[in-house]
Amino acid sequence: MDDDQESTVIGERAGAAYVVRVPAEADHELAPDLQTVLDAALDTEAERTVVDLSRTDFADSTMLHVLLAAQRAHRGRGRPMVVAGPFGHTVHRLFEVTGTAGFFELAETTHAATGAADRDR
């Protein structure tokens, strides 16, 4: 895997889901890119959006802001959005400390999240 892939957000179709892969560092520098990809996800025909945080070991409040906004936008369009782990310590703590875990639909793994989409069909 080259540096580009390690530090950028990648959005791709996986079955019935659109998966947004978040890199290791999700900070204020990444936030605009993440927002762009999540906005784009809404414009696809996928049945749901899966935000894959399994590789993310640092995330700050700017990323949380983007996720909250995306979750709200998805609800407004009636599109499910699942935030998938397994979550690293920092990400886990970010959801826990901010009390936002209940606001998102969380999944243990991306596989579980995308599998859910395929099962739903």
Binding site: L64, H65, L68, R72, V97, T98, T100, G102, F103
Partner: protein
């Protein structure tokens, strides 16, 4: 006759019969002998140089530069040795390049004169364009080198007086009753003034200041030009005046009054275009400087409003705050803290420390709303959950997902200590520093404010004994990157270890120590806003110690 002339010029008919064609050539051709006497000339030459006649000296009718070139060419005794060069010169408003060829065995010189006036004009124009482009580039550089509005106005006036006219008056849009003007006089420093004047007294100025589509900046007669529109020290009568609008993005940036005298009164099209291009650049620079000044003013006002209070003791409990804004320029950050002493001197004191997501004006507005709402909700401070619920519903809108995290600390003085009720709303929980150096994390958690339809929170209660402290901090501290490699988070562990050594220290000293450690950790690298508040029960105080209550509001 024709044959005789052919003989005289030495131009012999050749087999193709073109020998006499030179007479009808469109370019002037002059034949002269070594002594400088004209031997022959064609029709074009006779028209271009009416003074030239056969058998008369070349110098009588030819321009001096041609005569000189002929003399130089024929001075050499061993003609045709050096290959004759072409020479350039002008005559009667036309530009010529003269090429020499030798004939009649070197006894005569044939001068072929090519009229290249148009080419010269084009070259001249190109040179002018290049000079102006360079000038504009330099002017742009000077204009944009400073965001200081005053300096920008001076630069505009100075450059205008140097390149566009003899003097210039920059009129800026007035903010109050007066009209701010900057006088530029060639060779003198610009002068600022605010004049009480009617802009209608200068024709075209009203329109220019309103940012109406630029009318052709015609030079207007200087009759009845008001006194204020002439820079002090301008010598001699004003012979012509032009008003040029300075277009800004969206709003007009002002207008230039250009003054010229005497010989300079006429203005070519190229100068017009140049003035217009200059005006666009000056307008952009002035508008940028003005917008920056306004933004800096707003920021300064907000910063002043949010200046951290110097927190002291309330009911014998010490409060100390520290704030280090991120180094990213003059932007209002999102961290804040407040201490509200309890009503009547006996009720609980409420300390609040928070962090609004984002930066800039939006974040500042939300910060202000949170602090004002909290202030209004102080009577509800006994019930943290209710306070947060009310705050959340006041702030949650469907328009945005900007949020804040904060931590509430209610402090009640007891005879033998201080009772703390601590509630985190999506914020890192406070750390308690015990007298023996043990550091505990307050068992509180809750959801952030401003996004979720409902909040949940758990309040932790703990008691501070003398010499013990509670530290509220924003994630700018724990997420500060630094260390040997520059990319390691300061982290909660490092903060806890630092606090171990802070037992029995005054609140001020704890804040200072943590700030120093984090500053050393970060070094010169960029960092987020960092705020912290220490609540300390001093080792030797009693509840009836003299209070110095301070109503504190503090934010970057």
């Amino acid at each position: 006759m024709e044959n005789a002339e052919r003989e005289a010029t030495g131009l012999r008919d050749d087999a193709d019969g073109v020998g006499g064609a030179w007479r009808d050539a469109p370019c002037p051709v002059v034949v002269a002998d070594r002594a400088g006497t004209v031997a022959a000339l064609n029709t074009a030459a006779a028209a271009a140089f009416p003074g030239l006649r056969p058998d008369t000296p070349l110098r009588r009718g030819a321009p001096p530069w041609l005569t000189a070139a002929h003399r130089a060419l024929t001075a050499s005794p061993d003609l045709p040795a050096p290959a004759p060069k072409s020479v350039r010169g002008s005559h009667a408003g036309r530009d010529f390049t003269a090429h020499a060829t030798l004939t009649a065995g070197g006894r005569r010189v044939v001068w072929w004169l090519i009229d290249d006036s148009e080419l010269s004009a084009a070259r001249e124009a190109l040179r002018g364009e290049r000079e102006q482009a360079a000038l504009l580039a330099r002017a742009s550089g000077e204009l944009l080198s400073s965001l200081n509005e005053r300096h920008c106005r001076e630069t505009t006036a100075r450059l205008s007086a140097r390149y566009l006219a003899d003097a210039a008056v920059l009129v800026s849009p007035g903010r109050g009753g007066g009209l701010p003007v900057t006088y530029g006089l060639r060779g003198a420093d610009p002068v600022h003034a605010v004049v009480r004047a009617d802009v209608r007294s200068v024709p075209g100025l009203t329109e220019a200041l309103q940012g109406l589509p630029p009318t052709p900046s015609r030079w207007i007669p200087p009759d009845a030009l008001p006194e204020w529109a002439v820079p002090p020290g301008f010598e001699g009568p004003v012979d012509s005046v032009a008003v040029i609008p300075l277009p800004g993005p969206g709003v007009p940036a002002g207008a230039l009054i250009l003054l010229r005298r005497g010989a300079n009164r006429s203005s070519s099209d190229r100068e017009e275009v140049f003035a217009r291009l200059f005006a666009v650049r000056a307008g952009a620079a002035l508008a940028a400087a003005r917008m920056y000044a306004e933004q800096a003013g707003i920021t300064a006002t907000l910063m002043h409003e949010l200046l951290p209070p110097r927190l002291r003791a309330v009911q014998g409990v010490e409060y100390a705050g520290g704030y280090r804004p991120s180094g990213s320029g003059e932007r209002v950050g999102g961290d804040f803290y407040d201490v509200h002493p309890g009503a009547g001197g006996t009720a609980d004191t409420l300390a609040v420390l928070g962090d609004v997501c984002g930066k800039g004006l939006d974040a500042a507005v939300l910060t202000g709303r949170i602090r004002n709402t909290l202030h209004a909700l102080l009577p509800e401070a006994d019930d943290h959950h209710r306070l947060l619920t009310l705050l959340n519903s006041a702030l949650t809108t469907s328009r945005h997902t900007r949020f804040a995290t904060l931590v509430l600390a209610s402090v009640r003085r007891l005879p033998d200590g201080a009772l703390l009720r601590l509630t985190s709303a999506g914020h890192p929980p406070p750390l308690i520093v015990r007298a023996d150096g043990a550091v505990e994390e307050a068992a509180t958690h809750g959801s952030l404010i401003g996004v979720l339809p409902a909040v949940h929170s758990t309040t932790a209660t703990t008691k501070l004994a003398p010499g013990e402290s509670c530290l509220l901090f924003t994630d700018g501290i724990t997420e500060a990157r630094g260390g040997p490699l520059g990319d390691t988070l300061f982290g909660t562990g490092r903060l806890r270890r630092a606090l171990t050594g802070c037992a029995r220290l005054p609140a001020e000293a704890i804040v200072e120590r943590v700030q120093t450690l984090v500053a050393d950790w970060v070094g010169p690298r960029p960092h987020d806003d960092m705020a912290l508040t220490a609540i300390t029960l001093p080792p030797t105080t009693r509840p009836d110690d003299a209070d110095r209550p301070t109503q504190g509001r503090l934010t970057p």
